[in-house]
Structures are given as C-alpha cells and as structure tokens.
Symmetry: C2
Subunit: 415 residues, 2 copies
C-alpha cells in the first residue's frame, strides 16, 4: 500500500509551501551577551542610542582651523596661524582655542573648529606657527558627528541572522546585551529494531546509526543544535509514545528510518496516532529520498526521513533545512555554487530532483565535475568522496557529458 | 618615515608566499569524540578496520535464492521454491537453508544465497511456496560485503577538515574517538591609549574596540577560536612586553591599531624588539588596509592590522585567514560567489586590491550589486548594510556601471 502511495510524488517546493501554511511555531526570545550572538536571530530592532561618530573628528593628520579664517588664503595671500594646541586621538579637546590645533586622524575637533588642513599642505614656519597657501572648503577633511550612524537609526532589523560585522556594530553601539530568538529545539529520533550506536559491540547484522550524527553536524553548520533521542524499535505502541513525547518537548522532530515501503512502514502511522496531524506529505520528488515525509503536528514540524544515509541527508538538505529557516523566518545563508564541466553523462527521472554526488576538480582555470560511483542510497562513502551536489531539477532528464552545470559545493576543491 | 615606507606596497599573494616560507608552527594533536570533530583537522589517516557492509545484503524486498537454482527458470519452465525462512533487517540468518528465504531491503543473506529476486517478479503459490518465471544473473540485487568500503581502505586522509558527512562515516566505522590537530592558539591584542571596551562608560572621545569582537567572530565562522588580550596603551615598553608574552603563549598574534603612518606607529617597532623577526612585510596592496603588516617571529605569525574597523576586517579576510589555513595546511573552505550587474561605476588604483562593499539584490532572475556609500575605513555600518565584497584586482582600475562582476557574498540576498 505504501508502494502505491509513493508513486505519487510531491515536488519539494510544493511540500514546503503546503507545510508552511500550517506552521504555528512561536519562538520565545532571550537576552544574551552581544559577543555570543553569532548565527542567532535578532528578536529586536537594534536602534542606535548615539551618533557615530559621537563628535566631529578629523579624517586626516593635519591642523584643525575655523574655516572662515581660511577663505581668503592663497599663494599670493598666505595665511599664518599660531598652533595653540594639539588634540591626540582619544583626548577631549580644550575649549576656547583660536588659530590652529594640531590633530591626528580620528582626533576630536575643538568647538568651532570645522575644517582640517592636511599636514602635507602646511608649511611649518616656527614650532608653533603654520603657513597655508590655499583655501579649503568649510568642513573639508572632517568626519561629522553622526555621519556614519545617526542617533535613533534602526541599524540592525529584527529577524536578521547575526554575522561577524553585526557583532562589531553592537560593540560600536556599546550594546553589550542583545535580544535574540530562543534556539529551535530539534530532536532526532532514529527508528528501527536493528539500530545500534557507533560505540556498541560488534554484531555485524545490526545497522550502525550514522544519521543522527550527520544530521546533528548539519544543524551545527547552520548554527542550530539538535539532540538525539535513543533509537526506538519497530513497535507501533513504543514508536507512538516516543513520537508523542518528542513532539511535546520540541519544535521540530526528525525521525529516520521506517518510512520506506516495506512492512515496517510504521513511522507515519505512529505520527498520526501520536497527535493531531494538520498536514502530511509523504513521497517527495527527490532522489535519493523519495519515501521522505513531512507533517505539521500540533503546529510543529515532524520530518520522516529515510534510514538510508544518503537519502536521509538529501532529505535534510532539500526539505528540512529550508523549513527550519522558514520557522525562524530568516533567509537561508548563501551557499557556494560553482560552474563546472560535467565529465560524464548523468540521467534523472522527470518529476524528481536528483542529488548527484560529484567530485569537482580543477584543470588549469577550468573546473570539472565527475559523478561519484554510487552503490545505492546506503553508501555514505559517496558523500565523503565527493565535494558537491549536482542537483538535476524535476523538469530535466539529466545532462550530457561536457555540459556546463552548477555544483553546490560542500567541501573544498583540491589541487 | 612610515609614510615613505608604505608607498611601496606588497601584493597580498606575494606577502602570503613570503611569509609562508618562514613559518615553523608545529601543531600537536589530541584525541576527541568523533561527534565533536566538525571543522577540526584530521591528524591521522582514518582506515577502515571493517568491510562496509560487513555482510552480503539484499538491495530489494524479495526472496534470496542460490543463483544456480535459477539459471534455467523461464515462462515455459517456471521454477518453484519453498520459502523456508525469513531474515529481518538486523537479524543473523540461520544456517543450512535450502530453497528461498524471504528478505527485506538491507537484510543479510544466508551463506550460499547469492541472488535476490525482487518481490514483484515472484508469484506466491502457497504461503510458503513461490514461483519464478524468469532467470536472474547470479549476484543480482545483492550488495556485496565491502562493496561500499573495503577493509584496510584509507577512508579519510590526514589533513582533512571534517565535514558533517565525514562524521557520519566515522559513526559507520564505529570509530568513536579520532585524532585531530590541536586548535590554533590565536590572540588578539588591541593597541592604543584611546581604546575602551564596549561595556565601559561614556567618554565620547575614546574609541570603542570593535575589532577584537569582529575578528573573534570571523575566526569562529572558520571553526577557529581567538581570545582577547586587554588593550595596551601606546607605550613602546608596555607594548613590547605584551607582544613578547603573546608570541610566547600563542601560535598567532593579531594586533589592531598603531600600524598607521602617524607618530604612534609603535607596533612594528615593538614587534621587532620583542623577539627575533624572521620576515616582516609592511604595507599590503589592499584597500582599505594598506598599512597592514605581517611578520614571522620565532616561527610564529604576527599580524599588524589597522585599527580602523573595515581596514582591519579586510586585512583579516585578505591576509590573515588564508595564512591561518596555510598553518593548518588545509584548503580554505569554498565561499559563496555570485555574478551580478554593477549598478554604478567603481574605481580602484593599479597595484591595489580594493574591497568594495556592495549590496546585492535580486530583480526578477537577475542579481544587481550596488556599492554602499562609504565614509572611510572607520565605518562598520558599510559592512552591516552590504552583503558582499566586490574585490577589484590589483591589475584593474575598476569597473563601469553595467559590468558583470563577481561578488563574494557574506550574507543572504533579500527579496
């Protein structure tokens, strides 16, 4: 029966759109130290409470003057000014000065001093007297207070994923605490009576769980965290209880295994028994990974990924990750994509997005992509040998050898 | 004097090549849990101690048989076989069976059973008897022991930066501990008497240190860690001591500030006094960031970055990060680069690589890059407003409006 059902595949974009409509996850927020906010989602607009720079500053090494004094200066009518003071970087200028004040790049200007003459345009007549042979527009070489950021400006918007420069901006604003969305609680539940942990003894007939570890690491790459739940066996009652408890305690549940078309196709049934299902899609147009499913259960996300490692990973990349970013309402970060010449023909079925593992290499200036020999969707070695995916879209039957294709790189190009 | 020196700029690639020759950092290694190895550098070849899969398995749901029994089967001479047993996934097959054995995808095959007939090619005559109307080649639908990974194979090479799939592979190999390079010890030392911390009170004339925080976050993005040293004031003796101590306790020291051409150009002098300098380059062909310097001191790396935030950041991206990857002897991970149409002309000087901050946006299918208004290299707001760098190479004087250019994205494209 599962078999028949899976013959009808839903396009991954349609599945994402369908599921998105029913999502009702509401994330709380928490206040954290600004320097721990990399990759977190802003839960507030960051508004500057100050002008940056907070005072007028010199943009060059030179001499600050009152611009009006300078207006008539020229080669024929040189202007001489007494150097009455010096303002070092970080110092507060003294008040009431007249004439010229020596400044460095970044020095604050004394009140009334609105123009800076660069050192190279000045002749030093005496230790404390300069001569200027040309005029400068009022305001020249001055960084105006608030020129970079005006007080009251929304500098970083709510919903932004914090990058390193944003953290520098928070430092600049002296905003040492920042409100961010709480982290998504993501649980990974491997299913299958045959599953053992990597640390367990040597029964050759059991299946080592690799998926929970790969998925956790993929989450970590996106600055998210997932935690493992111990594998449950193929028993409807046990499975139902594990799924119910996981849904209640997490925003997102990712199951692996038990979704294929055999007799042990229990996970979707257990999901339906566990809680009220708003929307369920089973059979996604991705290869590997066609048995993949996704449901919205009590407003939360439940993914049913294949137990086969590569199918599980493709399910995550094609379906899970985009939906995780939907939940936090932030755009997926940009990914490295390169153009390469395909070294051998690859075929795909219409209606299915095929994720072909390729090894991209460089010959001279040119990049070439070689499909990696694949032994089926259980082989994780195809992923460690490759460094990228060629994604063949559902409307294509594949590419000929010699075609220029786009590769989604996940590892560096050697040589 | 600094001024004259800096007129001669070294190309960034030349600086990297020059410095690389003198590096003698030798990193130790440590053994960690396999699931904590994301982004770490392998310090051992990972060799499979097992065949994967460890036994012959069925690739389909169906019936395992001895291939020789099948050779003569056809529509005219149907073969009938007793179904004597069933092997579930994860179970050890019993020995000595004859006839047919029911299997699922992933079930181990009993000894001597070398071929699997998919369920859809079989007619079930009785509960325990099947009929087959065609022959199958011996070995059909079987995943051979070791087909994915042969025992003894080097699966992951020393020097590799661990990605999520590599972690899955370690799980598969039941290799729960793995030897990786120790982390680089990177210290960040802000210099300048005017520096204050973001958390310190409101002196408008002081400069808030943003660089240490931005640089730390940039390191974290590369799965590296940097620690701050308290800012030191512009005093040669104090600076020399701080630098000496930092060099002795770290592999890499990054100073910020104090490298420009003013009178406070003390950092390079302090570096030279601190320890024996093998190689020093000052004045790098990058803009912003021309006063940037790098030295090899006692075989370790000392970077002298500008105190101006954007110049500091460009110094990190162009010079520091590539050299950090040289030290760990690993390729820089791939970065997202997109092609976009430039919306206004940008100019650059020959001999200098200019890092122009641009905002890339989408109009229909096309990407456009708009240079962000810049107020000088002190403005970190140009970086939070932009989402990428247009890097104008040293041999180019810039690009006209409408040119197709490559943009190094560091944040997502909105809209």
């Amino acid at each position: 029966m599962g078999y028949r059902f899976l013959k009808k595949l839903t396009k991954v974009d349609d599945a994402i759109a369908l599921v998105s409509k029913h999502l009702t996850i509401e994330l709380g927020s928490e206040e954290i130290n600004f320097d721990e906010s990399l990759g977190r989602v802003l839960a507030e607009d960051v508004i500057s409470r100050v002008d940056i720079p907070p005072v007028n500053k010199s943009a060059v090494d030179g001499y600050a003057v009152k611009g009006v004094d300078l207006l008539s200066a020229s080669r024929y009518s040189p202007l001489r000014l007494k150097v009455v003071d010096e303002v070092k970087i970080g110092e507060r200028p003294s008040k009431g000065a007249q004439g010229a004040v020596k400044v460095a790049t970044g020095s604050a200007l004394p009140d009334g001093f609105d123009t800076v003459i660069p050192a190279e345009y000045v002749d030093l007549i005496e230790d404390d007297e300069i001569e200027v042979l040309r005029s400068f527009p009022i305001g020249d070489n001055v960084i105006q207070r608030g020129e970079d950021v005006k007080k009251g400006k929304v500098v970083l918007k709510r919903g932004r994923i914090m990058n390193p420069f944003d953290i520098g901006m928070l430092a600049q604003l002296k905003k040492t605490r920042v409100r961010v969305l709480e982290k998504l609680r993501i649980a990974i539940l491997p299913t299958g009576s045959e599953m053992i942990e990597p640390g367990e003894g040597g029964d050759l007939y059991k299946t080592v769980d690799t998926n929970a570890y790969t998925l956790s690491a993929l989450c970590r790459e996106s600055w998210m965290e997932a935690h493992h739940i111990n594998a449950v066996k193929d028993d409807l009652e046990t499975l139902t209880q594990a799924i119910r408890s996981a849904i209640r305690n997490n925003h997102v549940l990712i199951t692996t295994g038990g979704t294929s078309v055999g007799e042990l196709d229990l996970v979707p049934e257990a999901v339906q028994r566990a809680e009220s299902v708003k929307s369920m899609v089973r059979g996604i147009g991705i290869r590997p990974g066609r048995p993949t499913g996704v449901a919205v259960v009590d407003g939360r996300l439940v993914f049913m990924l294949s137990g086969f490692p590569t199918a599980c990973i493709v399910g995550f990349i094609a379906l899970v990750r985009p939906l995780l970013y939907k939940v936090i309402n932030a755009p997926e970060p940009p990914k490295p994509i390169v153009r390469a010449i395909l070294k051998s023909k690859v075929a795909s079925s219409l209606g299915v997005a095929s994720y072909v593992r390729v090894k991209v290499g460089r010959v001279g200036e040119e990049l070439f992509a070689e499909p990696v020999r694949v032994m089926g969707s259980s082989s994780i070695s195809s992923l460690t040998e490759a460094n990228g995916f060629l994604i063949i879209p559902p409307e294509s039957e594949g590419f000929d050898s010699g075609s220029e294709v786009q590769i989604h790189l996940y590892d560096s190009i050697q040589g």
